[in-house]
Assembly symmetry: C2
Homo-oligomer: 232 residues x 2
DNA sequence: CCAAAGCAAGAGCACCGCTCTCGAAACGGA
DNA sequence: TCCGTTTCGAGAGCGGTGCTCTTGCTTTGG
């Protein structure tokens, strides 16, 4: 698969990784707005123009970091769910574990979280390369709901008629074995989860919520209820 | 009150407003990241250094825009709720109307919404001047829940014991006449509402949700249920 | 072995936030 | 009315940015 042909390709891969590492370091330290190519190059002992051999623009570098962040966040959620599953947790507890993993990752990597779920930094438009890694968290949540559905079933209110076709389409696209109402609820819960994490991370809870971990766990439990997971 | 003493103060007020207007225009056109003092000054026919007589830094200009955005958003929510109230709407419908007003404002002013609910742009720290205007949306939601509470009461699940003191504190701070469980649910719903709007605005629903207005209305209804509003 | 391709380096362009100085204008008390 | 004080716009300038182009050097592969 990834047969490295010569010293040149090897060097290219190494330098590309070094650039991303240094960029990630500066991103964590100062945020995306202050991430400068020149500073990254300086820290790596190269001149700024040399960096353009590896990334055609600052935005492309940021996009690479975004993809890595999606992957890292997705892996964290997957791992937390796997751990909960191995411990024999009920769907509701797996759900909460996944949500808490997302929150923990966000608190540990605030600027990377802002990069993926905050306001889009460049002109606009998340490139198509990001949609794959971006869905990993969603897939974890889908898996939890699927397990509950195949077990005791889901407790969901009926969908309003106007949303019927839309929910059916979403179900066909993302989880054809689940009821459309469950898929629609899942998408909403996913966005709401991000809202809870973003508010805490971006300081909106300052002076409002103090016991943030407990509050979040409670809210995640409410989200679990919202997607029909049994309370057991 | 605001007696303008001389031509100097009058000019200062006018120029300050003109700067903010032009900055808002450029913000709407290109986003906060690309808002430059020099471009604003250029468009206003002044030299960039002159602008520092009115705003000590770019961040201070952005802060002023943030405060205005909070106020504009809050006014939109208040107006929508008042209209619903005047039309004799039930609390649940007032709630949905307020949520839809927030979404509509966000869609109409995406960059300003990103400024207040997206990732914090400058170094950090929302200044203290923003907390007043920031609470207007929250107050609307509180008012709707209060009306329901004083009417038929609220249908809320019990709070986990660990959150008892925290919820009581939040209730004392923001709505002492409401049950702590309602206030806790309100805060969570507020964050979740922002999550729904942010996902739509920041492109996270691209390729996922198509019928966004209907989907949002449904999700807002679920949020209403989450804060205990009767379904009537 | 040698042409082609990849590479780092440097100079340079246009822009940025911000500071400082300077002269003109408005202000307000004597 | 005069005059010191304050406010203001303009200009030059500093250090920084993203990005481009040219210039040679090195690796590559036929």
């Amino acid at each position: 698969m990834s047969t490295v042909r010569g010293a040149r390709e090897r060097a290219r891969i190494e330098v590309t990784a070094a650039i991303k590492d240094e960029a990630r370091r500066r991103l964590a330290a100062e945020g995306a707005a202050k991430l400068s190519l020149r500073a990254v190059a300086r820290e790596l002992g190269m001149v700024s123009s040399a960096l353009y051999r590896y990334f055609p623009s600052r935005d492309e570098l940021l996009t690479a970091l975004i993809i890595d962040a999606y992957d890292s966040l997705g892996a964290a959620a997957e791992e937390a769910d796997s751990r909960a599953l191995a411990a024999g947790a009920a769907p509701r507890d797996r759900w909460i574990a996944a949500c808490e993993a997302v929150r923990a990752w966000a608190l540990a990597h605030p600027h990377e979280y802002a990069l993926v779920y905050g306001s889009p930094v460049p002109g606009y438009s998340a490139p198509a390369d990001t949609i794959g890694p971006a869905s990993r968290v969603g897939n974890v949540l889908i898996g939890v709901v699927r397990a509950a559905y195949e077990g005791r079933g889901l407790a969901l209110p009926p969908l309003p008629p106007v949303l019927g076709p839309e929910a059916a389409r979403m179900a066909a696209d993302f989880a054809e074995d689940l009821p459309p109402a469950a898929v629609a609820a899942l998408v909403a819960a996913w966005a709401q989860l991000a809202g809870l994490v973003s508010f805490e991370l971006f300081g909106q809870f300052q002076g409002v919520v103090e016991e943030r971990a407990a509050f979040f766990t409670h809210a995640a439990g409410q989200l679990a209820h919202g997607v029909g997971l049994p309370a057991v």
